[in-house]
């Protein structure tokens, strides 16, 4: 076995991998946007006094968290059509990954919401606010800063899970690296590049999240 890195090959495949990176970022971004919104819905649903809704949201979260992401991706893509839901690999992938992470984010929000002191709810009642006003004006703004670290972890997490979408043929980074490998029988360069690209995205993202958290706290007047 010999270590044989070819720079010319590296530069030849780099543009293709960078294109694929855009797809990865898009899948992660859209999936995350779905997860952020749906996660909040799931977290709030678990706090309503309406038991069937609470139960349903709880079961959904537990189900998602207890089954593998790959299975969920296959399910949306291959089983969906049997129920008349026909989605392209791209859309299936983003929906599946969004649903998956919404369950995790709902738990992050739940923790954040529970960290808001009881007195804040009571102050809202004393000011005669509706529950909608209570949530959106008082509780959620305060639940946000403690949730940001967890939200950031899952943003990096969703990015790292996008390679799973290659199983249904979404042309993201991993899928492209595989394609390059099977065309040229060279795996060292494409996979190494994939690793470097992921690092180059994940590390700054984590740092930016930290800065964003500080900024939000300051913006909300919290130390």
């Amino acid at each position: 076995m010999s270590f044989n890195w070819r720079w010319d090959f590296t530069f030849e495949i780099l543009p293709r991998l960078l294109w694929a990176t855009l797809n990865t970022l898009m899948a992660a971004g859209v999936g995350y946007a779905i997860a952020v919104v749906l996660g909040l819905v799931l977290a709030l649903a678990q706090r309503t006094g309406f038991r069937p809704l609470t139960q349903l949201a709880r079961e959904f979260v537990e189900f998602i968290r207890s089954t593998p992401l790959v299975l969920q991706i296959f399910f949306v893509f291959y089983v969906g059509p049997q129920f008349g839901i026909r989605l392209s690999p791209w859309v299936s992938g983003m929906v599946a990954i969004g649903l998956h992470y919404s369950a995790y984010l709902s738990e992050v929000y739940r923790g954040g919401l529970e960290s808001v002191p009881k007195g804040q709810w009571e102050a809202c009642t004393a000011l005669n606010m509706t529950s909608r006003q209570t949530y959106f004006r008082v509780i959620i703004p305060q639940a946000l800063p403690p949730s940001l670290a967890g939200m950031g972890n899952y943003l990096v997490g969703i990015l790292k899970d996008t390679p799973m979408l290659s199983v249904i043929g979404v042309a993201e980074l991993m899928h492209t690296a595989n394609a390059i490998g099977s065309e040229s029988y060279r795996f060292l360069e494409p996979y190494t590049l994939v690793g470097i690209i992921f690092l180059a995205i994940s590390l700054p993202t984590a740092g930016l999240i930290r800065l964003f958290e500080i900024w939000v706290r300051r913006k909300l007047g919290m130390r």
């Binding site: 009642t125 004006r137 305060q142």
Partner: protein, 271 residues
Amino acid sequence: MEDMSEYPLELSGDNVPMVRFMNVTKSYGELVVLDKLDLDIAAGEMVTVIGPSGSGKTTVLRMLMTLETINGGVICVDGQPLTHMPKGGVLVPADARHLRKIRASIGMCFQHFNLFPHMTALQNCMEGPVQVLGLSKQAARERSEELLDLVGMIDKKDQHPSRLSGGQQQRVAIARALAMRPKVMLFDEVTSALDPEVIGEVTNVIRKLVSEHNLTMLMVTHQMGFARDISDRICFFFGGRIEEQGPPDELFANPQRDRTRQFLSAVKEAV
């Protein structure tokens, strides 16, 4: 289930009290916190509730603010039932809409202030008037600044609560409650979490309210001297019931019941 037909659908006549507790019971499981409480508070009256911890005094305020549900009886505010609403000629438990309507005449200040930490002092005061009462921002700002001036906090109006001392936070909380123009103000141990040297700045604001505003007030406090100075009536609670009540000078100088005497002398020794 209690027979609700015994209760009037609303209070009428010449002397309708601002607040009336009728036969109000509160219990947590087996533990009875308040036992068939009857209490009237007249419009403009300042009533202070004193008593040992666990006697149910804070619960009285919390029930009136609808922070606690009651297990029996009816509470009326300004002649209208608060905890119940008339339906088909009898009183039934109030729904959220009815609660919001009647609750609008009540304001409350808490032991731990409960200011919104993500808003400045001014924003805290404007929040209710703008969001709940639907005032314009301009009108809410004028009202809030006036009240912050009243409590001596106008200089700090743009500060967040984390930058304010306990006494300052409590004064902002009083302004915030007043901005909703309540008819009844509830003060729940508002000086208990404060350092001794700043208690005066909060009690002075309450004194000012008593002398200059025609508010009905119900207060729970451990500041006996303060209670004696400003109250029209003192209610001594013991074991979920009013053990004794009367004008402060009578109750403090000449308590009729043993438990009142014991409590007052224990408090005096502690000072």
